[in-house]
Each structure stands twice: as structure tokens, then as C-alpha cells.
């Protein structure tokens, strides 16, 4: 699930490749020109001719709903636990942990 929200933060872009284009506010952008614009001012057809030089506003574009490391505490036996990456199956910890330590590490990693 992704959600899309708008922002009014300006971003610095650089025009790459040849050709010019016009922003929605009428400003003409030439090759290699660095300019600032709000993301919604960029015509869709020209988005792939631009490189964002600043971190884009985080709200722009599809927003990850669950971009978290995936770990879980697994019981090893004898009162010992591992914090395991659920996709790779590899424990994050090199030495097994007590339950409380494992829970603390889980919180630190996720």
C-alpha cells in the first residue's frame, strides 16, 4: 500500500540531455541548467530528463508504507534467543541473547 501526498517544498534540479522545456510557470529550462521548482511544476513528460540535486521532499511520490528492516526474535533453546532477519534467515547477533536483550536489539534494529 502506498499513499501519495503533495508538498510545497522547492527542489533543485539539473536538466540533463539535450533539448529545452518549459515549466508550468512558463520558465524555459535549457540543457545542464540548474533550477529550483516544486515537483508539481515539472511536466510529467520531462521528469526523466532531470536529476534532483537536493533530497526531494519526502512526501512527494509513492511513500513506502513498510520500509523497515524485517527481524524477529527466535527462541534457540535453553533460555537463549536470536534476532533473525526473516528473509535471509541470518541472525543479526553473533552471540545468542537472553530474552530481554533480544527484545532490546529487535527494537534497535527495526
Amino acid at each position: 500500500m502506498v499513499e501519495r501526498t503533495k508538498t510545497k517544498e522547492k527542489v533543485r534540479y539539473r536538466k540533463i540531455g539535450g533539448g529545452t522545456f518549459r515549466l508550468r510557470n512558463g520558465k524555459i529550462i535549457k540543457p545542464n541548467q540548474i533550477f529550483t521548482a516544486e515537483p508539481h511544476e515539472i511536466p510529467e513528460a520531462f521528469k526523466d530528463t532531470l536529476v534532483a540535486l537536493d533530497p526531494a521532499p519526502e512526501e512527494e511520490g509513492p511513500k513506502p508504507s513498510s520500509n523497515k528492516p524485517r527481524f524477529e526474535v527466535q527462541f534457540k533453546g535453553g533460555g537463549w534467543y536470536d534476532v533473525v532477519n526473516t528473509e535471509s534467515g541470518k541472525p543479526a547477533n553473533s552471540k545468542s541473547l537472553r530474552a530481554e536483550e533480544a527484545q532490546k536489539l529487535l527494537e534497535e534494529l527495526t
Binding site: 536529476v51 534532483a52 533530497p55 528492516p69 541470518k90 553473533s94 534497535e108 527495526t110
Partner: protein, 241 residues
């Protein structure tokens, strides 16, 4: 809030997989496969099977290395622009994601997208900071990842793809096994290797003081500060151990 790196790999060996061409070559990836990945006709995950000798090791991937496989335990990137390109792909990547990109500074956990932030240590720009909430940036992500490995508590570090120079792939000059960081229609740039090299002598000195052994798996690397060894030799030794 800055992350405090937990010492989860205390006393262990860690491999750091950076972008140099030597990494897939050391693991015997055929040149035609490398060429396809460089030209973006194949995904980096095609390398994964060749890296099987380190699948069960502790591995930090630098930048695009996370794309090789989920067996890479942690990702380090420093460049905010790189993150913007990879943001959506990182959603599905399950490992530990660490950065010093300032957009994550002071981000509440629920807005940090699972990315852990370490500040660049302004008092220790080169070498290896001992503050587990910071990294020594050393002007490049690969060198900064060494700082992260030390925070994890490792005592032995194996560097893969730390070439710091261009290599030829089918007569074309190439800087990374995944192709350029630039977009296909953007002018290709050679990374500032000279600047990247400046931090390594300090890293080597600090590592010695901290009792951390660093080996460079590329005998032809432009980094002169770490002992260079062959991958085969190291893997054979590990088997014996």
C-alpha cells in the same frame, strides 16, 4: 535521532562489499555477466550465486551492493541523491539500512523509513571514530562503512571492491560493477578517487590502534594502506579455521 550502533558482531569478521569491478571478478563472475550488469541488461542479483562463499558471513554492502541479495546484512549509503534513486527498491530490502545522509537527521522513527542515521563526526572526519552514534565520513561511503563495521564490534574486516580506480570491461572504462551512478542519459563522471584515497592511511592507523585487522581482497587496488591478499587464500584459511 541518531542511531547508536549495537555491538552485534563483537569479535567477528565482517566483509564490506563496495562497488569496484574487482569484487565480482574475485568471485569468478564471467566477464560477459559483468558486462551485462554494467550495461544494466541484467540485475545485480545475478551475481548472488557467485558470492555464495560469503553468504553466511557478516556482510555490509555499500550503495548498490544491497541489490545483490538479502544475505547482505547491512547497507551503508552516504549520498542523499543515491537514496532518491533507490528509495522505492529499498522498501523490499530487509536488512539493516544505515546512512549519514542529512535528510534522516532528527527524523522520528516512524518517518525514517527504516533508515538508521549516524552523523558525520566533525571532530574525526578521517579515520575511525569511536563514537557509536557517528561515523568518520572519509569522503566516501566505502570508507565510512569501515567505521560502521568497527562500531558493530568486528575485529577483522575484508574489503571487496575497494579498487578506487577505473577498470576495463570490453574496452570501456568502468568504475563500478553495477555501471555508473549517473542516469543512462547523463554525462558519465569518474568518481574523485584521489579525494577518496585520503582517508585510508588514517583508517589504517586507527584500525591498528583499535586492534582491527583490515585486509584488501583486491591485490591490484589503488589503496596502498591495507595488506592485499587473494580472496582464495582468505577463504581457504576460513575453511581451515
Amino acid at each position: 535521532m541518531n542511531w547508536r550502533v549495537p555491538r552485534i558482531w563483537e569479535g567477528q569478521t565482517c566483509w564490506i562489499l563496495a562497488g569496484g569491478l574487482s569484487a565480482p571478478r574475485q568471485f569468478g563472475v564471467p566477464e560477459e555477466v559483468i558486462q551485462k550488469v554494467v550495461e544494466r541488461k541484467e540485475k545485480p542479483s545475478i551475481y548472488s550465486q557467485y558470492f555464495s562463499p560469503i553468504h553466511n558471513e557478516y556482510v555490509i554492502g555499500v550503495n548498490n551492493a544491497y541489490m545483490i541479495g538479502v544475505w547482505i546484512d547491512a547497507l551503508f549509503f552516504g549520498d542523499c541523491a543515491w537514496y532518491l534513486v533507490h528509495r522505492n527498491k529499498l522498501i523490499d530490502w530487509p536488512g539493516i539500512k544505515v546512512t549519514c545522509c542529512s535528510r534522516f537527521q532528527n527524523k522520528p522513527k516512524n518517518k525514517a523509513e527504516g533508515i538508521k542515521f549516524l552523523d558525520k563526526d566533525s571532530k574525526k572526519r578521517q579515520g575511525l571514530t569511536t563514537d557509536p552514534t557517528k561515523i568518520s565520513w572519509n569522503a566516501n561511503s566505502g570508507a565510512a562503512a569501515i567505521s560502521l563495521a568497527v562500531h558493530f564490534g568486528v575485529k577483522r574486516i575484508r574489503l571487496l571492491g575497494f579498487d578506487m580506480k577505473t577498470e576495463k570491461v570490453q574496452d570501456k572504462s568502468v568504475t563500478h560493477w553495477h555501471g555508473s551512478h549517473q542516469q543512462p542519459n547523463e554525462k558519465q563522471k569518474t568518481p574523485p578517487f584521489k579525494r577518496h584515497l585520503r582517508g585510508f592511511p588514517v583508517i589504517a592507523r586507527d584500525a591498528k590502534e583499535l586492534g582491527v585487522e583490515i585486509l584488501n581482497m583486491n591485490p591490484d587496488s589503488a589503496i596502498p594502506d591495507f595488506k592485499k591478499v587473494s580472496l582464495k587464500g582468505v577463504l581457504d584459511c576460513q575453511t581451515v579455521e
